[in-house]
Amino acid sequence: MNLLLPHRFKKVGVYMAILGITLWVLMQRGVVHRFLTFLLGEDLYNLDVPVFYMVNVGLTSGGFFVFLMGVYCIAFSKERVEDEMIQKIRVDSFQFAALLQLPLIVCGLFSFLLPGHTNIESEIIILVLVSSLMVFWFGFIGRFNYMLHVKLK
């Protein structure tokens, strides 16, 4: 069973990741919100209006989702020549990334045991879980490219 994407998805993934993270950062910094407020005026564009609130949440989570999909495409696209050495490096990098992620998953599970359910604790749990996701992808991509372009060259 081969679940890898064709090689051309690597380039698509780079564009998606850049676009997604840019949109997410802009949404987090409130740039889009300020721009739309300037464009439509405060009377029309208001986050108290359910439609605009949904658009705001949709763009923020959409940006992050596009970024994640882009990173997935980068990580799981075939190389130009997908031979046994590449496959071995892929497996090795996967193990490395899983090991890196493990402590964060354990921390995430323990953070559920924190007493009380304040906003800060919820944010900590989300932060730990998002970090574990990021650590896996970046650990995998980093290790794979290090092995391929530095160590085995």
């Binding site: 190389e79 130009r80 020549v81 031979d83 046994e84 050495m85 590449i86 085995l152 060259k153």
Partner: protein, 66 residues
């Protein structure tokens, strides 16, 4: 494990890219094998031997540390 892939390839006047194409791997894999950074599988070792018209045991040699 020591190997004589590079010596045989040069003797046969093949480039790394040509040998890579013959055994259907990337040029980087050939580089890694020649510099002893990657140990090929039995299948790839047999393919290399066939491409270089040598016996596997003439291309690869066990060392004391193996």
């Amino acid at each position: 494990m020591k190997n004589f892939i590079k010596e045989e390839r040069v003797r046969k006047q093949l480039t790394q890219a040509q040998l890579a194409e013959l055994v259907q791997v990337s040029r980087q894999t050939i580089i890694s094998i020649e510099t002893n950074k990657y140990l090929p599988s039995t299948v790839l070792a047999l393919k290399l031997a066939k491409a270089l018209q040598q016996r596997v045991e003439d291309l690869f040699e066990l060392e004391d540390s193996d």
